[in-house]
Amino acid sequence: MHLSLEDLLAARDGEATTEAAAHADSCPECTAEIARLRAVQRALAALPEQRPPQDLWPALRIALASRRHHRRWVLAGRTAAGLAAAFTLVIGVRGGLEAWHEAKIARQTRELVAASQRLEHQLRTADSGGRVVSGRIAGTIVQLEDRIAAIDAKLSRPRAERYPSQDVVSLWQERVRLLDALVSVQTTRTTYVGL
């Protein structure tokens, strides 16, 4: 009876039980299998590096800048304007079911952008103006802002601005959800926002 794979892996890692180690020492097949597992481990570590298919720095730079500039959500307005223009153009040159679907996505997006802008306005109104907040609340705010910045980075990618899609709608939905949570934190000063 040979060792199970879990026992062989434990033996490879020097963590085998006394019995398993004794079996491995006396069984050439298990010894060979442990050597093979070591070889796979070495081969995994030696796999070549990969590079992202597109340059992500421009989007990240925007996200970082947007965070630095007091989280003013300037990107949302620009992205919304770009999306609205792109959708209008696309709908203008296509017809039929495809255009209907795109019009639906454009309408959803416009509604979400409007909701997003309303929430941003609320945030500006409720801005703490430098008032001290607790560490936990500050942590929650930063977390939410990071996630919004990450979404803004995705929305600013060329394909998100150029092509209407369900993915873009989902991003705006998530953005609205996070902004709503941020408004809750700012206005009620609670760290629990159900995320």
Binding site: L3, S4, L5, L9, E29, L44, Q50, R68
Partner: protein, 188 residues
């Protein structure tokens, strides 16, 4: 990953954009590579790279130089990846359920297991790795390459060390099937 120049780090801590870009350029490939091993799709890996770097910029002031900067970034990446894994756990579970039974059988029977009949032709390691169920691949990479212990992985994914061990064994059982030459005889 390589070490980082102290001056570059100091500039990055002040929010200097050029320094941040240099850091990003230095780490984008290794972080993306790690992200590809720990996420389901290239798109997820891009998101993880962005999230990781946003976190790095936010927390860089707290990096005190205990351990390497490269190691710290890898930890941030792994931690964010596993957070995603926890978040999407149920969806992943559903998708992997069909593969689980075959894997479990293979893992428990040890290296004497016969290849499953549907095994495709021999694959290279990169392709075989990509075909592993998501959780098993992430656990394997973290344990076998990044050097995390089963206890550490268990704590990060909110499971037990036994779960981590069984995922590793399943992954190796599948890798063995996929990498074994078609003519290979199984020992008995």
């Amino acid at each position: 990953m390589t070490g980082v120049d102290e001056l570059l780090l100091a500039r990055a801590k002040t929010g200097n954009e050029a320094a941040l870009e240099t850091l990003f350029r230095q780490f984008e490939a290794p972080v993306y590579t790690l992200a590809r091993r720990l996420t389901r799709t290239p798109h997820d890996a891009e998101d993880l790279l962005q999230e990781t770097f946003l976190e790095v910029v936010r927390s860089i002031g707290g990096f005190r130089g205990e351990g390497s900067f490269a190691g710290w970034i890898r930890k941030v990446t792994a931690s964010k990846a596993l957070m995603r894994l926890r978040k999407h756990g149920s969806r992943v579970r559903e998708e992997e359920l069909s593969e689980e039974l075959a894997d479990a059988v293979a893992a428990h029977r040890g290296h004497g297991v016969a290849p499953i009949a549907t095994t495709p032709e021999r694959l290279d390691l990169e392709a075989a790795l990509a075909r592993l169920p998501h959780t098993a691949r992430a656990v394997t990479w973290l344990h076998d390459v990044e050097g995390y212990s089963h206890d550490e992985i268990a704590a990060m994914v909110g499971k037990t060390a036994s779960f981590s061990k069984s995922q590793l064994a399943r992954a190796h059982a599948r890798l063995r099937e996929m990498l074994a030459p078609a003519s290979e005889e199984t020992c008995t």
